[in-house]
């Protein structure tokens, strides 16, 4: 199994989720994060004090799927999350040793 870790633009989340559901993905976990990268944040000014945030709000998706599906998940993610402009984000793929569904105790791909 693979853990697919994608950092995307927040407003793309709905689109991405729909695209992945289309692939048959039944679950994922989403976290609000701040990204630091090439994309620069906006400048805020409060009574003359300027704060140029180099942290941009992003959304992180964590999704475990079986090895076979992983390439298509990555591809779908890349297509649905892309806008072509800087800051679109990254996808990382890691190996997962084991998965367990807490409710039933099922393990492996049955747990997903």
């Amino acid at each position: 199994m693979k853990l697919i870790l994608a950092i995307i633009k927040p407003f793309k989340l709905d689109e991405v989720r729909e695209a992945l559901t289309g692939l048959g993905i039944a679950g994922m976990t989403v976290t609000e994060v701040k990204g630091f990268g090439r994309q620069k944040g906006q400048t805020e000014i409060y009574r003359g004090a300027e704060y140029a945030t180099n942290m941009v709000p992003k959304v992180k998706i964590e999704l475990v799927c079986d090895d076979a599906l992983a390439p298509r998940v990555v591809e779908t993610l890349q297509q649905s999350a892309g806008t072509g402009s800087i800051g679109d984000g990254k996808i990382f793929v890691l190996d997962v040793g084991q998965a367990v569904r807490i409710r039933t105790g099922e393990t492996g791909e049955a747990a997903l």
Binding site: E44, I45, Y46, R47, G48, A49, Y51, T53
Partner: protein
């Protein structure tokens, strides 16, 4: 004997000025003395219930300026971790000021004839009953003394709370309390006496009042005074760690907007209440408190644009306060367009001071008490001499001489600045000596809410 005569003066002067906008804060002692006997003859007047109703309302409105008004205005501007410390300091210091006021504050400021710097008498409100009255600015018109005491009580409470804006996010709670006790005693009460007390003789009349200075609702007593104290305080207590390096963005401009709204709403009590009656002069102060503020808002935002930024909500809120501060000494001493002028000048100048000048000077007057209350108060106090002019719609009489009044205003402001600066330095040094002054670097980093009060503002 407190104010029986003031109104006599006011009346006379006002006759030329159309009975408008003349406050007790503008007296020529000579006239007052001459007129005094007339008052004595009259039977004890009873308060008009309309005046009493308005003055109670005005007092409640000023209370709303402090908590929740000022507390939220300031609280929204600090970081989340220090929110509660700001709120706690303001409510606690206001409570302290109220207790002190009935114990000896009212005595020192308005208690009875002593000298040009303080009053004496009525310690612990001795002799004051629900039947006691004080004179207003109109011949034969009085209000219940308890109402006057309560109204003035709120002024002392908000003034000391205003100072704290320069010192947030680093000062110990105990230091704040010690400072408040000393500062009210040696700075606020004397200045209130100097600016607003008319005694039976020249020697017992407040120094600045004796000069004939105009201060309708507290430009010197409240705003210049608090602004200077905050400046002195932030120099003595020092900058916040990380100042001009870390992000210190306001944690909730929504709270600052609520605070601004409540300050504005309450300020009608502050300004129009300072007429001490529900009359045309109060009505003038009321409308000026609209127009000056509106001008402050729009001109601060325009100045932001002129400086190359976007017009911001914090700008609008800051401009509102700048306009309110500037119109305070002039509330009944100006027409609605004079008030617009004051608001506009304060909006432009304060914006520039806060956004440009302050960064250069590098002191950490954290919430710009000096930049807005100090500078706005200076603008208002001095320009009041100008807005009095009938040419600008002001209520001055024919014998009004701009130059000499200007000089009086400048002199008065000078004394207030000096007294406040010296007295505040003493108060801050005492607070530092007794309590240490600042929290530890670790508490400052983790936030004063947990470190000083053991609570967290939000648990979402």
């Amino acid at each position: 004997m407190t104010k029986g005569e003031i109104m006599t003066f006011a009346n006379k002067f006002a006759a030329g000025a159309g009975a408008v906008g003349l406050s007790l804060f503008a007296a020529l002692p000579a006239w007052a003395q001459e007129a005094a006997p007339a008052v004595a003859e009259a039977a004890a007047p009873t308060p008009d219930k309309g005046d009493t109703a308005w003055m109670m309302t005005a007092t409640v409105l000023v209370m709303a300026m402090i908590v929740p008004g000022l507390a939220l205005f300031y609280g929204g501007l600090v970081r989340t971790k220090n929110m509660l410390s700001v709120l706690t300091q303001i409510i606690a210091v206001a409570a302290l000021a109220m207790i002190m006021w009935v114990m000896f504050g009212y005595s020192l400021a308005f208690g009875g004839d002593a000298n040009q710097f303080v009053s004496a008498g009525k310690l612990f409100l001795a002799g004051v009953t629900a039947d006691s009255t004080v004179a207003t600015f109109t011949d034969g018109v009085v209000i219940p003394e308890f109402v006057f005491i309560a109204f003035q009580m709120t002024f002392s409470a908000i003034t000391v709370a205003l100072v704290l804006g320069g010192l947030v996010e680093r000062m110990k709670f105990s230091a704040v309390m010690v400072f408040a006790i000393v500062w009210l005693s040696i700075v606020y009460y004397p200045i209130a006496h100097m600016v607003w007390y008319l005694g039976g003789t020249d020697e017992a009349t407040g120094l600045i009042f004796g000069w004939g200075a105009l201060d309708f609702a507290g430009g010197t007593v409240v705003h210049i005074n608090a602004g200077v104290a905050a400046l002195v305080g932030c120099l003595i207590i020092g900058k916040r760690n990380g100042y001009q390096k870390d992000v210190m963005a306001p944690h909730s401009l929504t709270m600052t907007l609520i605070g601004t709204g409540l300050l504005w709403v309450g300020w009608f009590g502050f300004n129009a209440g300072s007429a001490l009656e529900a009359n045309g002069s109060a009505g003038l102060a009321l409308i000026n408190t609209f127009t000056a503020t509106a001008a402050g808002i729009l001109f601060w935002m325009l100045t932001e644009r002129a400086l190359g930024h976007k017009g911001s909500l914090l700008g609008a809120c800051s401009g509102a306060i700048a306009g309110l501060v500037a119109v305070t000494p002039a509330a009944g001493n100006s027409g609605p367009f004079g008030a617009i002028l004051l608001g506009a000048v304060a909006g432009v100048v304060c914006c520039w001071v806060v956004m440009k000048l302050k960064a250069k000077l590098g002191f950490d007057d954290s919430l710009d008490v000096f930049g807005i209350h100090g500078v706005g108060g200076l603008i208002g106090s001095i320009l009041t001499a100008v807005t009095m002019l009938p040419a600008l719609g002001g209520p001055a009489g024919e014998d009004y001489v701009l130059g000499s009044q200007l000089w009086i205003q400048i002199k008065s402001v000078g004394v207030a600045v000096l007294w406040s600066a010296v007295g505040s330095a003493i108060a801050f040094y005492i607070a530092k000596a007794v309590t240490g002054g600042r929290v530890s670097a670790e508490v400052e980093r983790e936030g004063l809410d947990l470190g000083e009060h053991g609570e967290r503002a939000y648990n979402y």
